[in-house]
Symmetry: C2
Subunit: 256 residues, 2 copies
């Protein structure tokens, strides 16, 4: 199977590497900047271009791994290809390709990516969605080749999962940043918090988070929360976050 990758960021890089490792032939890499296309193409033993009119028409799969708002304009250039076209975005509907392409879908690896700390791709769930049987069988085959967990979810579910990921990963990492800032301000080292952070994430690998909740808010310990809010008084941004999240912990989550 011949594959073209459009994009040269984290996802394109890690996914491209996983595809090569699974035995696929990456025949072309496109990036808006030729320099970036060349770097990734070199890594994947492929050809590079920065010209959308030069995209090869004979590949079996075109994976678009760019910023969400660039997917639509790039797909305008892929109307004549016969292969399957898919984007890798968690927040973009499959309908972005509607009326432009023949066989299309979504190939969304659901994980935080970083060039610094690689995760085995096999452990990353891949969520697929397809407009027709041709797209579905191609995306399924490729997904099962690179990941141990493949799920078929629709665009609304994928958006919901992406939002859940923002809460569980992006926002939690930002809370780590806030904690680090609080320690630095008081001449303490972030190392003190690292075991606690790992332990908090490890606990919910088996338990549900509600069963693992600790801290002054779940105990409704008003005295401790008052002490904390007093100490945060000169940092209104942190105080607002402290209050909103504490109140939300105190009020049980409604279940639909």
């Amino acid at each position: 199977m011949k594959i073209v990758i459009l994009g040269s960021g984290n996802v394109a890089t890690i996914l491209g590497k996983a595809l090569v490792d699974a035995g696929y032939d990456i025949v072309q890499v496109w990036s808006r900047k030729f320099e970036n296309a060349k770097i990734l193409a070199g890594y994947l033993d492929s050809d590079a271009t920065d010209d959308l009119t030069q995209i090869r028409p004979d590949a079996d799969l075109y994976l678009i791994s760019v910023t969400d708002d660039a997917i639509s304009s790039i797909s305008n250039h892929l109307g004549s290809v016969k292969g399957v076209i898919a984007h890798t975005s968690g927040s973009t509907s499959i309908d972005v390709f509607s009326g432009k392409c023949a066989h299309y879908g979504v190939f969304y690896p659901f994980q935080t990516f970083s060039k610094e700390k690689p995760v085995p791709f096999k452990e990353i769930p891949v969520l697929i969605e397809a407009i027709d049987q041709t797209a579905l069988s191609t995306l399924k085959e490729v997904a099962h080749s690179v990941s141990d967990t493949v799920k078929e979810y629709n665009s609304a579910q994928r958006t919901q999962l992406h939002i859940a990921g923002v809460f569980a990963s992006n926002f939690t990492n930002h809370l780590y940043s806030i904690a680090e800032r609080l320690l630095t301000e008081s001449q303490m080292d972030f190392d003190l918090l690292r075991p606690l952070i790992l332990e908090t994430a490890t606990k919910v690998q088996r338990l549900l988070p509600e069963a693992a909740q600790t801290g002054p808010a779940i105990r409704n310990d008003r005295n401790t929360m008052a002490v904390h809010q007093k100490q945060l008084a000169n940092q209104p941004d942190l105080l607002a976050i402290y209050k909103l999240l504490s109140d939300h912990i105190i009020t049980p989550l409604p279940r639909k």
Copy 2:
């Protein structure tokens, strides 16, 4: 060294066990409810009481591990003991003992505790503070016997660390709960998020959180954030949290 433990909750239980394992003699366990004192005393091969007037006066160390607002009233009953008195609270000043006791301090194991998922006590940092040299040497000796990391911090630093822990652990766990709720509502399994959660915590074991930040807010990806906010529109509580944390990620953290 003879130790009396006042309290029978998670911290009292786990700390008591670590002290017994380190060879200390727990001579008495007090709890407000005799039944609870009896259970912990049985576990620690100790005596139980629910009567503060019956606390033995001859111990070397009295560890008060109760809810923060009960520390003061309990310490009123310990005015005549000769040993060192310490509480285990992150949010209570050392001054809670002022004018009541002779040698006193704080012995704060800094970690989330749970009966379900035990952590080796050696890995839990213990923060100590002491009013005099007698208290300091006793607390230092005991702390080094049970933990690999012992730090001397004052009450203001301890409060700051406790607040940082609330952000990095209690609040992040609550964000996991929110994510779990979002998945359940859309017929998806929390298992999908577990690897992402662990990976997010693992990344900051080496990196600083600011360097590990990903997601639509740090990219200032307004389109994606608009899609997310639209989908959260019927859950104003989650929408408020989404907006506040996204805005805070977009605005760089000030450094003092």
